[in-house]
Symmetry: C2
Subunit: 159 residues, 2 copies
DNA sequence: CGCAAGTGGTTTCTCATGAAACCATCGCGA
DNA sequence: TCGCGATGGTTTCATGAGAAACCACTTGCG
């Protein structure tokens, strides 16, 4: 907030260090999201993500395995989120005829009804966050983030 | 909303959701950093941050309290990091004459010697991450991150 | 068939993080 | 000087995430 540590050329400050800035921004945003979802729906982020994917037209019913791929969450995280959502009656597991080890997950009626509110909140939040950013900046921000992600991943591989 | 054909064009995907992109990028970067510091110095991120600040010319010796402000880390995190660093002999606590509750922390000789390697690694990593980014993009990225941080914080306040 | 290896899912364990409780000391006012 | 609230620091507790062990079922091969 008061980063008045005037960068005197030689001076190094943590607040000007990219990974730090990235982490600060990311935490601020995800705290905001988490708080909003918690307050309005009692949903945690992983749970919300599952809802979002399951409610998305393309993924009518899918296995946990599929969810881990789409959301890039750990399979344990996916499992836990699904368990909670099932207990709350927002999703249901139907037997998977093709493979007895897994179940197919889909939103219940109540789940769909919540989903109809969940998505607008997500979109509204995104819009609010981007308020004050020019359209070009928004696109550029996404682009930079993606490139940074790719870059970091590739550096992690060969080191 | 779930009319499969109409949705497919304007389809919503988690991977295009800003908070998600942000979190992915941030995690990728901090994982990279964490891994590098772990491998070369056996330092965790909070520990590394403390070292960075203490070794910085301006902050010869300071209290934990001062460190929490500069690093924006939790005071518990600061304390734990200091404890570890002290046990490893990288920093030492000298009595604070001005206030008997706290100690003044400073790098030991060994700590300074590590610090001389720590900082170059940080800077090199930052440079590598930014490889492929035009100078303008780098500045813009920082700017966008800061603005997003401020924006998210302000939304969190009044909601 | 029937066993071995692989895979989806679940549980358990470990560790990191932050909140809250706690202790010691300071500093101010009676 | 005494007492009491505030503050630096430490410890304890609760929560969350990931790793690894584990179980159930499937698949492929003898």
């Amino acid at each position: 907030m008061n980063d008045k540590t005037t960068e005197t050329g030689t001076e190094w400050s943590l607040s000007g260090f990219l990974p730090y800035q990235l982490s600060i921004a990311s935490n601020a945003v995800s705290d905001l999201i988490a708080e909003r979802y918690r307050k309005r729906f009692g949903l945690k982020v992983p749970e919300w993500r599952i809802m979002a994917v399951l409610g998305d037209g393309t993924q009518r019913a899918c296995t946990q395995q599929a969810l881990t791929q789409v959301t890039r969450m750990d399979k344990v995280a996916v499992n836990r989120a699904c368990k909670v959502l099932e207990e709350r009656g927002l999703i249901q597991r139907v037997p998977n005829e093709a493979d007895g080890r897994s179940h197919l997950l889909e939103l219940t009626e109540e789940g769909r009804s919540i989903h109809r509110e969940v998505m607008p909140l997500a979109l509204a939040t995104e819009r609010e966050l981007f308020d004050g950013f020019a359209p070009r900046e928004r696109a550029q921000f996404r682009d930079l983030l993606d490139r940074m992600h790719v870059r970091a991943a590739s550096l992690a591989d060969n080191s």
